[in-house]
Amino acid sequence: MTEQVARRPALAHLFWWFMFSQGGVLAALLIPVHIVVQGILGPLGVVKVVDRHYDTWISILGNPIVKLYLLVLISLPFFHFAHRLRYLLVDLGVPAAKSFPAQVVFYGAAILVTLVTIWVLLTTAPISLG
């Protein structure tokens, strides 16, 4: 008698790996330039940066494309970070970080950051195409 094993595509696994890899690529491509320009060169006064004055900062934050960009820039890497930090804990001898509750905490935090980012982007500057 042959035993039939129901094979289902691991859609949840696919989703979280997609978010991990996309978040990793985005973090790799975009974060260094933000740190250099907004975190070092701007505060040191080496270059003029958009967040050095309220009017230029609020003006660019109102642009819908910039809002979408910032949402992707901030939220997607957190799905990558959630996975990395979870396995960092596993590697440091905390196997509980593999458990389902740990997954809820780490990926839940990434979802929370996404929701807070959406809220901040929608409430900080009114959408403006000008």
Partner: protein
């Protein structure tokens, strides 16, 4: 092999101590790569806070000027660069791209990823600086 036989022949693996990654340079850099997530997450949370502060209005907003913030960013930068180098280099191993029915060499894929990083940095940098005053 049945599950029972598999269990019977399973060898004992002594548990590794939490400091296993300090024993070899290769292990250490692997852990540094995993750790990069923490400073990058903190820096992005700061960026989110910076965006939120703009909502306080012209009298409540002031640009980040402190030495502590520059030092914080300067500490985060090497972690960001290390993440970029290691993750973009991985693309040559992970991605399988076919062009005219022939697989693209991994070196070409890695070069494309690093080229994309350069272009993205120039474009984003130009916007951040170009709209500043």
């Amino acid at each position: 092999m049945s599950a029972e036989a598999e269990t019977a022949t399973r060898t004992y693996r002594p548990p590794m101590g939490a400091g296993w990654w300090t024993r070899k340079g290769h292990y250490f850099w692997y852990m540094v790569r995993e750790f990069t997530a923490l400073p990058l997450a903190l820096w992005l949370l700061w960026l989110l806070y910076e965006i939120q502060r703009a909502g306080r209005g012209p009298s409540g907003y002031y640009p980040p000027n402190s030495t502590a913030f520059v030092i914080f960013s300067a500490i985060c930068l090497p972690f960001a660069l290390y993440h970029s180098f290691t993750f973009l280099k991985l693309a040559g191993v992970i991605l399988r791209v076919k062009l005219l029915d022939k697989p693209l060499a991994s070196g070409v894929i890695v070069a494309t990823m690093f080229g994309t990083w350069l272009v993205a940095s120039v474009v984003v940098g130009a916007v951040l600086i170009g709209f500043g005053r």
